[in-house]
């Protein structure tokens, strides 16, 4: 009961935040009614997916301060589990998604146990390495389609298939991922106030101090890593149903891992709104810059330059991201 209350209790934020958040949530709900282009719709779906990836990353990377640059491996595990189970045995999404989460969590324990003996940059590098190894394994594993990957798009679209998540129109995907998004947000709101959330923030602050307060630092990190993993894998399962094609070089790439981490950091690592703000800035920017400057004007890669610039500016002025700036200003005003 208290858990539920904590999940829906946002009262520690100033009222202005809640008004803005409520307005934005309402806009999300009615967006499809006004959406002019399928391009905007696709961008929004991407935005929700990446917000969720960022929220998952934010548990261990933001609150826990363990910079993880290997999240793509768990996107891959979720996506592949769903695709393989669908293609081989015709198992619906609602079964394959939890199975994928289970496999991803088991894998996260296997690599988390040794990896969390490492700290700082060494940990970050090790997460990249495991992710790349897994990608290479999938590239040669014929059971999952090897380097060519898998395709799940049907030849003709049946009426909306809610079990397998095969839809012709994006609007179904939109509301589904929006539902996931709200659930994810509630979960994160609970998490940041939970015992584990507090313990992680203490670990980020000072590990020796955390130990002296009775926190099993290694185990707390592993547990949180598993939570982050489950989150990411769940969205990975959805991801594949939405884009319908997966290749290991794409879905398990370092680019994706870095993008996930960057969004959360840009928005504000270790804050509730951070990953959402980060995704809200980067995803539309990426899509539209690619569309306008990349495809239209032939300036391929210009989007990369833009978000590198943003990241440099943010990290130079406030390492805690956009939300860090907001909080700083507020603290100054209060004094």
């Amino acid at each position: 009961m208290e858990t539920l209350k904590n999940a829906v209790d946002f009262s520690d934020f100033p009222r202005i935040d809640l008004v803005i958040a409520g307005a934005v949530a309402f806009l999300f709900l009615i967006f499809p009614l006004f959406s002019a282009s399928s391009f905007a719709m696709a961008t929004m779906i991407q935005f929700f997916m990446f917000s969720l990836y960022g929220m998952g990353w934010n548990t261990i990377g933001g609150y826990g301060g363990q910079v993880d640059l290997g999240k793509a491996q768990y996107v891959g595990i979720g996506a592949y589990t769903t695709a393989v189970m669908l293609l081989r045995w015709d198992i619906p999404f609602w079964v394959s998604m939890p199975v994928g989460m289970g496999i991803a969590v088991i894998w996260s324990f296997i690599i988390g146990y040794p990896l969390f003996r490492l700290k700082g940059h060494y940990f970050a590098i090790a997460t990249i390495a495991t992710s790349l190894v897994l990608k290479d394994l999938f590239t040669v594993w014929s059971f999952v389609g090897a380097a060519r990957g898998l395709e799940i798009s049907p030849i003709t679209y049946p009426p909306p298939d809610y079990m397998r998540l095969i839809f012709k129109e994006d609007i179904y995907y939109y509301y589904l991922i929006l539902g996931f998004f709200f659930l994810g947000l509630l979960y994160m709101n609970w998490f940041r106030k939970s015992r584990l959330g507090f313990q992680l923030r203490c670990i980020k602050d000072n590990e020796d101090m955390a130990r002296s307060l009775g926190i099993n630092v290694h185990w707390a990190k592993i547990k949180t890593y598993a939570i982050a993993t489950a989150f990411v894998s769940m969205v990975g399962s959805f991801h594949v149903c939405y884009i319908k094609v997966i290749e290991p070089v794409d879905i398990m790439s370092l680019d994706l891992s870095i993008l996930i981490a960057l969004m959360a950091m840009l928005g504000g690592a270790g804050s509730l709104w951070g990953p959402i703000i980060g995704a809200g800035v980067l995803i539309p920017l990426r899509s539209y810059l690619k569309e306008w400057l990349g495809a239209a004007a032939g300036l391929v890669g210009i989007d990369l330059i833009f978000y590198a610039l943003i990241i440099m500016i943010v990290s130079a002025f406030e390492p805690r991201g956009i939300w860090g700036i907001v909080e700083k200003v507020r603290r100054r005003k209060r004094r």
């Binding site: 939970s194 015992r195 507090f198 130990r211 002296s212 926190i215 603290r331």
Partner: protein, 259 residues
């Protein structure tokens, strides 16, 4: 049976014997001072008792249980709390939240942890500072917050590492009152590392002196203040003269038994 018993505890770092066969014991609700020159091994001793360092040899028995091999977080669970000498007050947790982290050791419920933290902050007269970041507070308040954090875990034994360092006289009086309160009214056994003699001598019931990793003296403050070995190793002739504790005869004895 003593509350805490340290038997022949030795800790070496490579060739350095940071703690050399130290033995002592303390009873429930005692308040002990641990003094000695810089590098004498005081903090190392704390780290060993708390499980931050694995000990090289010797045994630690806490409340009838052999805890020599336990890790730091397990020791906290058993009821040993500590503060750190150098504490960089970083992070985005407020004072209340920091104390809550300790309280979460014994409960999963946020509201219970909060109530526990508020009780401790009120008890240490820190309640007004609840919503500040630790980095926004003056040093004296930070030191008391650090104590409050350790108290969150409901320790039965509290190890305080230089909580008075860098404070002025009124602030020392204040933190001394807090320590006495924790010891007498909350019933927490305390070991205190401190260089501020006016505080250690006043507040401790018993003092243990370390030098070069070994225990060189142990006894009530007034005896320690006169002990020739302690004066030589740590207090210095001037302190002894100022406090009128020098004993001419023991000084002469002392010269005969120079290391």
């Amino acid at each position: 049976m003593a509350f805490l018993e340290v038997q022949n505890l030795t800790k070496t770092f490579g060739g350095l014997r940071a703690n050399d066969s130290i033995s002592f014991s303390l009873e429930r609700e005692e308040l002990i001072g641990l003094i000695g020159p810089n590098g004498a091994g005081k903090t190392t001793l704390f780290n060993c008792i708390c499980g931050h360092h694995p000990v090289t040899s010797g045994r630690i028995i806490f409340d009838g249980q052999d805890v020599t091999a336990l890790k730091a977080h397990a020791m906290a669970r058993l009821g040993i709390g500590r503060t750190f000498q150098v504490y960089a007050a970083t992070g985005d947790l407020t004072v209340l939240e920091k104390v809550m982290v300790g309280c979460f050791l014994h409960t999963r419920s946020r509201s219970k942890a909060r109530a526990c933290a508020e009780e401790i902050l009120g008890d240490l007269k820190l309640f007004d500072l609840s919503d500040y970041l630790v980095s926004e507070l003056p040093v004296a308040a930070q030191k008391r917050v650090v104590m409050a954090m350790a108290l969150g875990t409901q320790p039965r034994l509290l190890l305080l590492d230089e909580v008075a360092a860098g404070l002025n006289t009124p602030e020392i009086e204040e933190i001394m009152a807090s320590i006495r309160h924790v010891n007498k009214d909350r019933g927490v056994t305390v070991i205190l590392i401190e260089h501020v003699m006016e505080m250690v001598m006043k507040v401790s019931e018993r003092i243990i002196v370390l030098d070069y990793g070994a225990k060189i003296a142990e006894g009530p403050p007034e005896v320690i203040a006169k002990d020739s070995k302690v004066i030589k190793a740590y207090l210095g002739e001037r302190y002894a003269k100022e406090h009128g504790t020098i004993d001419h005869r023991s000084s002469i004895n002392d010269q005969n038994q120079i290391r």
